[in-house]
């Protein structure tokens, strides 16, 4: 393959526009918010960037640490449930016929065609006290159960929203597996479960790990789902950040909270990179 240095002109032509876009609409705004996190509000609309760490000190208040912990807990549970539900789905898609594969993948992607807000409202219609689920349960003489406006509803909503993020990388990892290895395992007398445990999972592990990460990160920063489905106890960190920017009109503190969330994300990505590298080394030996 040609080195990009041998064709600087064409490279700049192709890469220039997206780089400029990235700079103007992502990196610079992000840098501004980052700068805000070291400032303090000096009036209704003015922020002085003073280099203070006071906002970060304030994020260490137990109440905010508690909210971070709760958000991580929500995201972790969501990711775990997505794995439990998503793994069999990914397996089924992998071993389906060509036509079945296309249809199943379509079914996984289909929700993306509808706006998240609309899907969340649909979930609310399902779960509410006089919603479809409770009405059906009522015919069986059960309920009504409190399904909406609690942590259960938030977890359910997060799993529902984030499931495709796990299924798709999982499927691509499983699909790349050498099927002859599975046949060999079955031929040599291992059962299906043992084959999955000892052959499929270890081989697909990089895909599983990146799927977990891709699910965990958006779940950690969820805003809409806890806001609409949650109850008095379901506040996640994104909800607090939103209120700092709007109602409290304290942009510096909101910026500091946002960047703590971003650092957490970086840590997760770095951790995953480290794991991947270690595996690579181990594989090379």
């Amino acid at each position: 393959m040609q080195d990009w240095r041998d064709a600087k002109g064409p490279f700049a032509a192709i890469f220039g526009a997206p780089a400029l876009w990235l700079l103007a609409f992502f990196l610079i705004p992000l840098a501004i918010v980052w700068a805000y996190s070291f400032g303090r509000p000096t009036g209704l609309t003015d922020i002085a960037i003073t280099g203070t760490f006071a906002n970060y000190v304030r994020t260490a208040d137990p109440v905010y640490l508690g909210i971070f912990a709760k958000s991580i807990w929500f995201a972790a549970i969501t990711t775990l449930l997505c794995l439990v539900v998503g793994f069999p789905i990914a397996l089924v898609i992998t071993f389906a016929s060509e036509r079945g594969k296309a249809l199943l993948l379509l079914a996984i992607m289909l929700p993306f065609w509808t706006n998240l807000l609309i899907r969340t409202y649909a979930l609310m219609a399902m779960l509410r006290t006089e919603g479809y689920v409770n009405t059906s349960l009522g015919w069986l003489g059960i309920g009504p159960l409190p399904l909406l406006h609690n942590n259960f509803a938030v977890t359910l909503g997060l799993v529902y929203v984030n499931l495709p993020f796990l299924v798709l990388p999982l499927y691509s990892a499983l699909d790349r597996l050498d099927k002859s290895l599975l046949e060999a395992s079955l031929d040599l007398g291992a059962g299906h479960l043992r084959t999955i445990r000892e052959i499929v999972i270890p081989l697909a592990l990089p895909g599983i790990l990146s799927g977990l990460l891709i699910t965990f990160i958006p779940a950690l920063g969820s805003y809409l789902t806890p806001d609409l489905l949650g109850g008095p106890d379901s506040q996640m960190i994104a909800n607090v950040i939103e209120r700092q920017f709007k109602r409290a009109n304290d942009w510096p503190f909101g910026a500091a909270l946002s960047f703590i969330l971003m650092y957490l994300t970086f840590i997760c990505i770095a951790g995953q990179g480290l794991l991947a590298r270690r595996r690579e080394k181990a594989g090379a030996v």
């Binding site: 609409f25 705004p29 509000p41 009036g43 209704l44 609309t45 109440v63 508690g66 909210i67 709760k70 998240l116 807000l117 409202y121 509410r128 006290t129 006089e130 409190p146 909406l148 406006h149 805003y223 809409l224 806001d227 609409l228 109850g231 008095p232 106890d233 506040q235 607090v240 209120r243 700092q244 920017f245 709007k246 109602r247 409290a248 009109n249 304290d250």
Partner: protein, 362 residues
Amino acid sequence: MASDFTQPGVIAGSRRGFLAGIGAAAVGISLTGLAGCGARGKSINFYNWDTYIGATTLKDFKKATGIGVKMSLFANNDELFAKLRGGNQGYDVIVPTNDFVERMIDADMLLPLDRAKIPNFKNIAPGFQNVAFDPGRRYSMPYTWLVLGLGYRKSKIQGVPDSWKWVFDSDRYKGRIGLLAEAGDLCRLVLKYMGDDMNSKDPAALSRVQAMLTKQKPNVAVFHDDNGQDLLLSGDIDIVIEYNGDIAQVMREDKDLDFVVPGEGSQVSSDCLCIPKGAPNPALATEFINYLLDAQAGAEITRTIRYPTPNAAAAALMGPDYRDNPVIFPPKAILDKCEYAKYNGEAMSRLYEDVITRVRAA
């Protein structure tokens, strides 16, 4: 006109209803301006709440004056404020609530009104002609007023819940209670219930608020973003803090609902017409504001939105089903105990928010 209000419950026409949910998804600070909505020809940009204008008002105004009105919508005052704090992107007329009028005057974000060009001010009821949040009405014209109270389902609530006790200090309706998520409003109502000054700046009083709400939290089903009327209508909760206009709208769909302003008194608000600094067409904006205060135009708006109007001439044109409606116009004895929220400075806005964040994390 009542037949215009047969929308499904989820999108029950309400200034504080469905869009509040949508607003949850929208980012308050937009980087895009109103490019393309320029001031060519005679037209103005009107930034308003959802379903908060008469069915034909904008068309009538265009017919009468030749001025086109482009209306865009905001979901709450915070969004309005966040959008304007970085500079006006081209809005000519905005509709902030009284405490935000005060806040925006403080932040020097509003233009003084040219009162000589607003003769229809004479239509305004005397009680609204001079107000504490804008002495002499230099910056704002009253558009509507509203009062917070308790909306409830009659078949599920014993008698008339005419005290805040039932939502702040009692487990009788455990799991059936909806409180406002708006931190300032909620803190002020608890202060009112406890007999404190509603606009108190005393940190000790606010820590009592925090203690009471934390104790009450297990009984609360939901903190709602001004969509309490939808939750009440759909049966998710049986008693909720909401604005009278919102409950009045859903009461037409469900006869089992009612509204009361608790005896301790409550918070009244007034949405006002203002011209933000940097408005492209202040002269046309003034003409539009004057038109909205006209008796006929005011009646047309009121027929659609069903909120209490401060426009006495417009109210006189309304039927008794509106003028004598106890939900839209609660008894005077109770209204006398109600107060406007005062803008208490940025530190207080943060303190309110902090109290509610702590309650919800507790």
